[in-house]
Amino acid sequence: MPKNGMLIRITLAVAAAALLGVLAVASAGAAGKNSSSGSLSGAGSSLVAPAVQGAWGPAYQSAKGVTINYNPVGSGTGIKYISARSVDFGASDAPMSKSESAGCNGCVQVPWALTATDPVFNVHGITSGKLRLTGLVIARIYLGQITNWNDPAIKALNRHLSLPNQKITVVHRSDGSGDTYAFTDYLSKVSRAWKRQVSKGTSVNWPVGEGGAKNAGVAALVKSTPGAIGYISDFYALQNKIPVARLKNKAGRYVFPRISTIEAAAQLVKSKGIPKNNAISITDPPKSKKYVNAWPLSTFTYVIVPVKTAKAADLKAFISWALQPAQQKAIQKDVFAPMPQVVLKAAKKTLKKIHS
């Protein structure tokens, strides 16, 4: 017989070490687990992640003992996962499209937070809130028609600034995203050329530009590239201290994204009403006194839940908890605006449909 003694001994030693490792991790994992009565898993929008993972999750855990596992994989992906029922809830900033709605097979979408997408830029010497843009100019930049910061179209809006002769580097998301949906939804409303050529969606066929992965990737690219323009969730712009441009709304005012201007845009639902499926678009509110201060790139973000689910009770409890004034208030520091009463009402009404 061969002399495998050495080999076998080494194998045994390695196996023993591995086993010890497993035991160590296992016991640590067991110790880390508290006596939670249950857990909910969700995936989707990274825009709402600061609320779900940062604020609500830990608070709900300590208040009710239920763990919220949330994975910010992107809105489109979130819809896909809830459609496959691999999570208990999905989250998306874009309302489900007709085919997505059919594919989800009996899902409802409940608006549960209100925030904004921001156009961000990196031009030397120009700070946040100083640069003024219109939707049409942004559309032309993203169509590749305006390529330099000293273009007359940009100059005309910014007489108060000295704009450099510098190439504009367009940055967009490389993955599917609710921010992309809000952004392209807005551009489709203000630019016919955009609507025809590109249209709106969680991922589109970009005419020009560089791709960055997730909000983080776009933030990093814009920050590191002089002359860059991009769009990201308000929270990430704030967190990464990236300059945000003012946008001209239909009322003709140059506004800056903040709680009050997002709230102003959300008043649109009062006149527009809320459709049965809760799909609300509040980008580019019309020209009216009511919306003089409205931020035109505001967006509701939704939690998507199957109507019939074994976790109905847990889900209803968590979502109605999140809709309470205290929880809505807790996320204002991350620039989520309070939702209008009509929306809250519609949300609660939809929640009632969920059963096990």
């Binding site: 061969p2 080999l7 994992g29 857990s39």
Partner: protein, 274 residues
Amino acid sequence: MELLAWLAAAVAVGFLVLVVWSVAKRGVSQLNLDLLTKAPVPFALPGVKQGLANAFAGSLVLVGVATLMALPVGILVAIYVTEFAPRPIRHGIGLVLDVLNGIPAIVIGIFVFGLFVVGHGQSGYAGSFALAVIMLPLVARATMEVLALVPTSLREASLGLGAPRWRTTLGIVLPQAVGGIVTGAVLAVARVAGETAPLLFTTSIVGNQVSWSPSHALFSVPLAIFELSESPDTADHARAWAAAFVLLMFILVTSLTARWLANRSRRKLRRAAG
């Protein structure tokens, strides 16, 4: 010209040293027990202790189950090829193993997604199966090689003493080859422990708690590195480096040890044959 060849070798070794050093430099300082024992805390305030316990636990389970799937099948394939198959079939299966080995990991991910995940959802089993598909040709090839080194005289002697074929194969030939098979399996484990692409669509939707059950989706170390590498947060990068360091050390130590053992046992077999 000789200088250029020296230079090329220096560059190649330099690549390795650079990667390992980069990972070590950034990873070691971040290394602590929290990495292995604490779960991640998304959007945590600075100072909150967190780690990647769920990723390490998940990787252990995923790779373990994949090994249980691939190892017996791979060994049986090798036994069939070296001990039973007629020549044309032997070549045919060799070709099939090469083809399987050449299929990109991301395609295997898509395949397993279409096979198991559509309609059933993600699970650790689906991820393990995808890893097992990658392991199978590696294990089979390694076993075939070492079985071929077992001297024919040994088989003939055993048969001559009246032992049946199956006894000879399982009782005489296989034990001779056990060293080579173990090293082949260890190399295959080292290879799939770092695979990301097959897990991306099969077992990636996970919570932040440690889980050991492959009937649900499990997190994994490569996936954790992939996700953290795209973050702008330097604290996330730090954890990515630390996890990469642990993964790299595991892979380097196991594969170098396995290679050394393989050479040893092969030499021994050759000597016995010679």
